[in-house]
């Protein structure tokens, strides 16, 4: 008799479990809960913490909840492309504009021109609205002050790319490999646009002996320079300021002709909740998300109305290459990178 009683309680628990699980699935698939409040699904290339801060704000204002998956930009591009037949995400947040351009060419993005994008400069957004810029981040020369002092005393810091060719910097500079890394490619593509391809290649050829290493990851040179493994790291400015804000002795100089990254936003075509994605795009282009993002990433918003964050540097006050053409850079990519691979 005892066994029978036990079995019936097991059956009861099993039934409860099945009901709960079924309810959870219905909730997940959006059957339960009203239509307007259907979740939005976001692929984020931003740090998840930043993305969540922004999306929590969005949720508070619109009542739209979210699911998020953070991915490196290459992975995000691959995912959106692979899922073209059955899109899983609605919105792609962050990542260099060339990644969004690749997706536009692949026909997997939805065109949408937000009214809030009116004050974004024409060279920071896609003319047809397939993607819109969000932040700007120039290439900079990051210098470890302490190591500089021990090695070079009171010498002035290098202000241009040319000055980095000085023989005294042999083995003291780190830059990721321009043949593979997006960061370093932004630097050389800009130089190629200003100087022409041949002079740029000649320059890199002369620079190579001074490079201590060419790591895969774009951010690594400034981390190592901060640790004192060498003196100079060439990376995006935001990465340098971020490391400086953690208390490292870093000075950043944006040299003449420095290229810059435009971080983009885009809407995935035929995603499960495109309406919400359009609302999110409008929201992203208000000031609040710009402030949240730039104050954590130390980059500069595409919008003049968003203030420069504490400890940030206004790109317009630097010598950056304002004429840098990212479409041109994307078009030249294969040719330039192949040529760079031939350099030893």
């Amino acid at each position: 008799m005892a066994r029978r009683k036990n079995n019936s309680s097991i059956v009861a628990i099993a039934v409860i479990a099945v009901v709960l699980i079924a309810g959870f699935f219905l909730y997940k698939s959006g059957v339960l809960g009203s239509k307007e409040n259907k979740k939005i699904t976001v692929y984020s290339i931003f740090q998840e913490e930043d993305a969540r801060k922004i999306l929590d704000q969005f949720k508070a204002e619109t009542g739209i909840d979210y699911d998020i998956l953070r991915l490196p930009s290459g992975e995000a591009v691959a995912r959106v492309q692979n899922e073209a037949g059955n899109p899983q995400a609605d919105f792609l947040m962050g990542g260099p504009a060339d990644s969004h351009e690749v997706l536009k060419q692949a026909g997997v993005l939805e065109a949408y021109i937000s009214q809030n994008a009116a004050d974004v400069a024409a060279n920071h957004k896609d003319p047809e609205g397939y993607w819109t810029g969000f932040y700007l981040n120039p290439i900079a020369i990051g210098i470890n002050e302490e190591r500089w002092k021990t090695l070079y005393g009171d010498d002035p810091y290098p202000q241009t790319f040319e000055e980095l060719l000085d023989a005294k910097f042999e083995g003291e500079i780190g830059m990721s490999d321009p043949a593979t890394s997006g960061t370093a490619y932004t630097a050389v593509a800009s130089l190629a646009q200003v100087w022409g391809k041949d002079k740029m290649l000649e320059y890199i050829d002369q620079l190579l002996p001074n490079l201590k290493e060419r790591p895969k990851s774009g951010i690594e040179p400034i981390q190592k320079a901060a640790n004192g493994e060498y003196t100079i790291g060439i990376t995006f400015l935001g990465d340098q300021l971020k490391i400086k804000a953690k208390g490292n002795p870093i000075v950043s100089i944006v040299p003449e002709n420095a290229g810059y990254e435009v971080g983009g936003l885009s809407i995935v075509k035929n995603g499960p909740n495109t309406e919400a994605a359009k609302k999110l795009m409008d929201f992203m282009l208000t000031d609040q998300p710009g402030i949240i993002y730039t104050s954590s990433a130390y980059s500069v918003s595409v919008k003049a109305s968003v203030p420069i964050p504490d400890g940030g540097i206004d790109i317009k006050e630097t010598n950056y290459n304002a004429n840098y053409d990212l479409w041109q850079a994307a078009a030249d990519r294969k040719e330039l990178q192949d040529a760079l691979k031939d350099l030893k």
């Binding site: 959870f24 997940k28 949720k59 979210y66």
Partner: protein, 552 residues
Amino acid sequence: MMKEKKGAGESFKRLLKDPSSLVLVLTSFIFLILFVIYPLIVIVFTTDGSDWSTFFTKPRYGTALLNTIVSSTLSALTATVFGFIYAYSIHYSNIKGKKFFRFIAFLPLLAPSVMSGLAFLLLFGRGGFISQWLRSNFGVELDLYGLPGLWIVQTISYFPLAYMTITSVLRSISPNLEVAAQNLGARGFKLFRTITLKLALPGVVNAFLLVAINCFADFGNPKLIGGNYSLLAVEIYGEIINNEPGLASVMGIILVIPALLVFWLQNKVLAKGSYSTVTGKPVAGLNRVTTSKRTDWLLFLFNSLISLMIIAMFLITILYAFTRNFGRDNTFTLDHLQKVVFSSSSPAVMNSLVLSLISALLAVGLGLVLSYIITRKPFPGKKALDFSAVLPIALPGTFVGLALIVAFSKGPIILQGSAILIVIAMLLKQMPVSYRGLTAAFKQVDKSIEEASTNLGANSNKTLGTIVFPMLQKTIVANFVYAFMKNMNTLSTIIFLITPKWVVAAVSIFNYAETGTYYWAAAVAVGLMGATLGTLGIIKLIFRDKVKIFDF
């Protein structure tokens, strides 16, 4: 297994007369063909000659293969040695606190192996607790990224597996033999070497192989702390992302070869060469010969060191989860847990719980059906069904995930992007364990009891419900608990399969750890362990003494 005296045609006819069994047999065949055989075929045909030549001509893949072999062998060696010493100390020595040490060895099973990687980063990584302490007090710069760190982490996270495997062997060694040897003059180390170690050797080799295969397929730890030390599982991940399924499949197949070899070794060589019967049950007889005082002391020291390491790893994770930013701002907070565990925008822990429960239920259910029809029903193709039911146990998790994503993202059946694939991937890894356990249990239930029931007028369903299932209850629950715990912690099997809606906790831990958001990684880990413990607690409350959980 019963020998079928009549031909396949005859057994097929008998099956036709028993429609409910026919349905079970057909379902089993369809399921295994669809989710085991079909993906394997697809993956083999996804590769072409150029993928193979790329793999063998580009040095980076050769390096990754070599690195994988080296690191897995090293980790498996140390994990096995540690597991052996630990198990030996618990079964042969007079040390105090055995219960505590057993409990400590159980702890790592509660968390995904990637949590060991996370805790390692928090302790020994750049900016880690111990690294910083060493730097500020002794000016020592600790850099364990790459092989050294991976070696340590895999040793710690897989030593419980070795410990459990070796424990069951040590328990089955009859003390009578050791006492006899002692009477013949063997003492101390000689006794250990000639009797205990020799008898335990098959089990030790088995543990080594098991750990090696797990290390071979480990994805999270190499990605987190491998640094520039490239490994096969990580390369596969990279090629999937680069949209090179052919190349990824080649590496997947390379990954499977040693696993299948080990599987074959375990089944053929070890089963025959074993000196002791591996039943896992203690053998009655004389009292065990125990170790000397000095050895006890050394064993105690060793166990304490291991325990200290494991406790430190859990402690640092908990500290990170409950403080703003441990080391910089030690204010107590529940913010992190609220944001990444209890928020509707972060369903990772909830997803893990739901998917793991469903998958564990299905795994045990399918294991039950398979073991039932294979031990009790005659039908053609039994050997093939048995083989494909056990096969997934030999396949590394990374490979299972890879095969599923390659097979079901193109072609006639598309399941990519749904939770079904995640459930199936977990199920495939756990079902063979249940199947094996239940087959053994079925064989222990004498068929004559069932025949008696049938003779008394019960049909086959009633016999199952009233006779067979109650007798199998313990095994069923035990397998369910095991499958559930494994599902909660799996990472390498499902890393390719997650979708933004169905992010699971192990993946979140990995993602947050990789991007340096340590307090969130720690909070998810704590949430996951809480969910696992809570569920186990409920199961314990329901089944009481019928299930062995928390019995150390």
